[in-house]
Symmetry: C2
Subunit: 155 residues, 2 copies
């Protein structure tokens, strides 16, 4: 089976959506990663859950683990306050979270290797035509495993 057939729709936000809605999407659907699309539907970023959490932790806390242990929970207010009014594009640096992608003809093993190498559990499947790039869908780690188990079951 190739990427075109493995690709599925996945919940997403766009770069213009509110950052807080991006957090809400991941939280409500228990998503492994956040998929962000540009206005034209091409992928802007894919952020694993642990790294979306990272975007909420102040830099001075990341640099000092002991500090994280003593700052109490009331600080959580300011974590989400930092999101207020920001769009996804303003909050998430595209450069840090470039989506991994393959063409529609890529095989399951190629997608698996890419996922493993990038440590990101979503690979975008992109088609190129005369009008530019178009998102066919995404392959998640879970859907890839569903496919591999089916193949193995028949073998």
């Amino acid at each position: 089976m190739i990427a075109r057939d493995l690709a599925e729709p996945y919940p997403h936000v766009t770069t213009d959506d509110q950052a807080v809605d991006a957090v809400r999407l991941l939280a409500e659907h228990d998503l492994a990663a956040l998929l962000v699309l540009e206005r034209d539907g091409t992928p802007y970023a894919v952020v694993p859950g642990s790294q979306l959490v990272r975007q909420l932790v102040p830099e001075y806390v990341m640099e000092d683990p002991l500090l994280a242990a003593v700052i109490d929970d009331r600080h959580a207010d300011s974590l989400t306050e930092a999101l207020a009014g920001k769009t996804v594009a303003q909050w998430i640096p595209a450069r840090a979270f470039k989506p991994a992608f393959v063409g529609p003809e890529a095989g399951a093993l190629q997608i698996a290797a890419l996922m493993a190498r990038t440590h990101v559990p979503l690979v975008a499947v992109i088609d190129r035509d005369d009008d530019g790039r178009r998102l066919v869908g995404v392959v998640s780690a879970a859907s890839l495993m569903r496919h591999l188990l089916d193949v193995g079951g028949q073998g």
Copy 2:
């Protein structure tokens, strides 16, 4: 809110379960990570989806991305064949996937910082008493964000 209150049950396998059932659990529940417990209920490993996929990709393919692109999908048979008859403990090296954990009194920010640093979207909450260590539950990236959004909403 502290770790004790944030901790929730999470689908898991044990070290004695079949490796193929571990893959099936992640696939069927769209889990962000696989939680593996020892027989006594203490955490053995936490494996993010992308790295569980990694465990299915042969080493020679990881080392040569061009090879992944040309090996076709029939190879997927042998990926799951490699799992056949193996237990989770035989398949997943504990050393590579040591679970991140906190005590029951850890705060949300401490958990967030740990998750961000380890790149693993599950943190185990462990209580120590006279009988040894006991798993209280786990905090996922999604559940942590649900909590942070609630706090922010009240602030």
